[in-house]
Symmetry: C2
Subunit: 197 residues, 2 copies
DNA sequence: CAGATTCCCTAGTGACCGCTATAGAATCGT
DNA sequence: ACGATTCTATAGCGGTCACTAGGGAATCTG
C-alpha cells in the first residue's frame, strides 16, 4: 500500500531537468525565458513541466535554490573558513573571477542578472533580498573583525561591505560583457588594494 | 510651397514625449516596457507613437541618444576636463554616486540596466557596445597618463579601466537595490584608494 | 470656401505568452 | 486479468505583445 509509487512513471530525470532550466534562466533571465524555451530545452511537454514543477515561478524558485547550493555558496563558505574578513573577501573576489567566467555555464551571477528588468516584481524582490542578504553577511563578518581588532575601530563596516558587493556585481556584469577570467582577476587584485590595513 | 507644414499639427510635444519614454525605459528596461505602457504614460495613442517614432526599437534608439547627451556624457566630460586620468575617474565615481541616486529620475545607469535579459539581441548588443566604448575611453585616457609619466610605466591600462568600469556598474546595480547617495559616495571613496600612485 | 495633407482614434491583426482540459499510454495493486 | 492511478501528448484557452488599416478630425494652400 505504502510501497512504491503507482501509475505511469515520469519519463525524465527531474533533477537533470532542473539543471537545464537553471542554465536557461541563468543565460536569458527569468522573463526572457519562455515556457516553450524550457519545454524545448528540457525535451518535455508543457503539461509534464507543470506537473513536475507547479508553474514558471515555482520552477524558478527551485532553480534559485539549486543555484545557491551549487554556485552561490562560495561567498558564505569563504566567510566561514577564512580567518579574517579581508582574507574572505579576497578569496571571494578571486573565486568570482573564476566562477563568473567558467565556460561550463553562462557568465556572471544568476542572482545578480536574472531578474533585472522583469515585470514580475515578486521575482525581482526575491533576488534583491538574496543580494542584500549577502551584503549583510559581508557586513557582519567585517564587524566581527572590527570588534576583535583585526580591522581599525573606525572602519565603516556597512560601506566596506557595499564596496565588496559593488565590485562583485560589477565583475558579474563585466563577465556578461565579455571580460575574461584573467581580466576579472586583475580587477579583483586591484579592488583588494583598497582594503583597509 | 516649401513654407510651414501642412495638415493637422501634432497634438503633443515630441521632445517631452521622448523624455517620458526615456524615464519609462530607464525604470523598467527595454523589454519590460510595453507599447501600451508608453501610450498610457505619454498620453497618446499607439498610431501617434508609431507615426512620430517609427517603432519601439527606433524609439528606444532615440531615447538612448537623449539619455547619452543628458546623463551619459558626464564620464566623457570628466575625462576631457580633468588634468589626469585619476582625477577624472575620481570625479566620475563621485558624480555617479549623485546621478545614480538622483530622485528626479530612476536609479542607476540606463545603459547598464535597460537591456539586461532581453530577447532582443540587437538592443542588448547596442548597449553593450556603448558600455565597452566607455571602457575604451577610460583605457585610452589612462594610457595617455602612462605615456606622459603621470602613471607608472608598468600600469595595466586595460585592467585599470575595467576596474573603474566594474565599480561604476556595481554602483549602478547597488543604487537599483536601494543604496543611498551617501553609501555610493563611500563606495567611490573606497574604490579610489586602489588607484595607483 | 474647396481640396490636399497630416494627424488622431477605434478597432483590430497575427503571434506569442503562461497555462490547462482532455484523452490516451504506461505502470501500479489486487 | 482488471481497475486505479499517474504521467504524456495534442490542442487550445484567454490575455497581452508589437503593430496597423481605415475613417473622421484638424490644419494647410489657393
Amino acid at each position: 500500500m505504502v510501497t512504491g509509487q503507482r501509475g505511469r512513471p515520469r519519463s525524465f530525470d527531474r533533477d537533470a531537468a532542473l539543471d537545464k532550466a537553471m542554465l536557461t534562466f541563468w543565460e536569458h533571465g527569468y522573463e526572457a525565458t519562455s515556457i516553450s524555451d524550457l519545454t524545448r530545452t528540457l525535451g518535455i511537454g508543457a503539461p509534464s513541466l507543470y506537473a513536475a514543477f507547479g508553474d514558471k515561478r515555482k520552477l524558478f524558485d527551485e532553480v534559485v535554490v539549486v543555484y545557491g547550493s551549487r554556485y552561490g555558496d562560495f561567498a558564505a563558505v569563504a566567510l566561514r573558513e577564512e580567518p579574517t574578513a579581508g582574507a574572505a573577501i579576497g578569496r571571494i573576489l578571486r573565486e568570482a573571477a573564476e566562477i563568473y567566467t567558467d565556460p561550463a555555464h553562462p557568465p556572471g551571477c544568476m542572482v545578480i542578472s536574472a531578474a533585472a528588468n522583469t515585470t514580475s516584481q515578486e521575482v525581482a524582490e526575491a533576488l534583491r533580498e538574496r543580494r542584500n542578504a549577502n551584503l549583510a553577511l559581508f557586513e557582519s563578518r567585517i564587524r566581527a573583525d572590527v570588534a576583535s581588532g583585526v580591522l581599525p575601530a573606525d572602519t565603516d563596516a556597512r560601506a566596506l561591505a557595499r564596496y565588496a558587493g559593488a565590485v562583485l556585481q560589477g565583475m558579474s556584469q563585466q563577465s556578461r560583457d565579455g571580460a575574461t577570467r584573467e581580466e576579472l582577476e586583475a580587477v579583483a587584485e586591484r579592488a583588494l588594494l583598497a582594503w583597509p590595513a
